[in-house]
């Protein structure tokens, strides 16, 4: 095998390796981006599915991280707000009973804010409200 052939083969191998390296760097950059909503517990598709199936409690549970400050993509925000609405109603009843009146009032304000923000969903919000009320036994 001549040196030229060896050189040619090694250049070809290098080109293939360079392709894999570029691909690897792109993948690593993607992985390093922190997309909490996409990669952690909040998955827009799951949330949408549970809302469509009227499993509002699961949607409420999935929306917990929003109250920790998670930023939501504008396109998916409505779904998370619907989940948060159910969650806030559920928690408000607990705060009222435990005597955390300031927190219960803050819940009321948040519920009003969500309603104001989502006039198109008022029927669904009523439905969620009814569903939460139905679960309260006293």
């Amino acid at each position: 095998m001549t040196k030229k052939v060896i050189l040619g083969i090694s250049i070809l191998i290098n080109l293939v390796l360079a392709y894999f390296l570029i691909q690897g760097v792109i993948d690593a950059r993607e992985e390093l981006k922190f997309e909490y909503v996409e990669q952690e517990t909040l998955r827009p598709d799951s949330l949408r599915m549970y809302l469509e199936r009227e499993n509002y409690g699961v949607a409420a549970s999935l929306s917990h991280p929003i109250r920790g400050g998670a930023e939501i993509d504008e396109l998916d925000e409505d779904y998370y707000l619907l989940g948060e609405y159910a969650d806030t109603l559920f928690l408000k009843a607990i705060f009222e009973k435990s005597g955390d009146t300031a927190t219960a009032t803050a819940c009321d304000q948040r519920l009003a804010e969500i309603r104001e923000k989502m006039p198109a969903y008022s029927e669904l919000l009523d439905k969620i409200e009814e569903s939460v009320k139905k679960t309260i036994r006293e």
Partner: protein
């Protein structure tokens, strides 16, 4: 080569050491035929240079190949461990931002909003069990099981009028497990909780857990006591009645 006397650097054609002046006998052979030696030496050098220049592209290519392989390994390692890198970075950030975060944490605790507190901790990847957050250790543990209780109960109970049925056995099981995890955790760590600076918060959490059982699962104090004394099967039957009836 070096002079045996002073160690100075000498050439093969030197007759005396340029440093100490010693007569150099060891180079006598080369001195006898300096021209032949020089020609041979030049030929060797030329051959070496040619061999090197002929192989330089291959050597460079091999070095590039090696670097590419190392680069691919590094990129794969970063990709595989990106989650941990991110987590570590956020944990370090949470320590740096302790002053800012502790104010927010205090707001959640003052409001009795423990699921909010837990969500804040999760989202910001607070460095739990590490200074300066380590004083919250016991509170984190109780908050985890409290949040699980809230999630399990709301997931099982809040359904729309035309809700598609979920796996109800799984709902009942989740609620049963969440209740037992919370109350067991509280009971097993009672002495630690009583000695903890956040004792009041944890008792407040227990009070809220009692309220959840009361208003959402229909267990007043007496019913709750009876529930905990009952067997697993009876607990399950009770929860089935409450959850499936709804």
């Amino acid at each position: 080569m070096k002079c045996k006397s002073c160690g100075g650097e000498i050439r093969l054609t030197d007759k005396t050491c340029p440093y100490c002046g010693r007569l150099l006998t060891e180079t006598a052979g080369h001195q006898a035929e300096p021209e032949a030696f020089q020609k041979k030496s030049e030929k060797s050098k030329g051959g070496l240079r040619k061999a090197l220049s002929d192989n330089i592209p291959i050597v460079i290519s091999a070095v590039v190949m090696l670097l590419l392989i190392v680069g691919i390994c590094v990129a794969s390692y970063i990709s595989e461990n990106a989650y941990h890198f991110r987590e570590d970075a956020m944990r370090r950030e949470s320590v740096k931002k302790y002053d800012e975060y502790s104010v927010k944490i205090q707001e959640y605790l003052d409001g009795g909003d423990y699921t909010g507190f837990s969500a804040f901790k999760e989202y910001h990847n607070i460095a739990e069990y590490e200074a300066p957050y380590d004083e919250l250790n016991q509170l984190w543990d109780i908050t985890k099981v409290y949040t699980r209780l809230v999630s399990a109960v709301e997931s099982a109970l809040i359904q729309g009028p035309e809700a598609k049925l979920r796996d109800q056995d799984s709902d009942v099981f989740d609620v049963q497990m969440a209740i037992s995890r919370f109350y067991d955790e509280f009971k097993w760590n009672q002495s630690k909780i009583d000695a903890d600076p956040y004792k009041d918060r944890m008792y407040d959490m227990k009070k809220k857990a009692d309220i959840i059982l009361k208003i959402y699962l229909g267990m007043d104090d007496a019913a709750r006591e009876a529930y905990f004394e009952a067997s697993d099967a009876k607990q399950k039957a009770y929860l089935e009645e409450v959850i499936l009836h709804d």
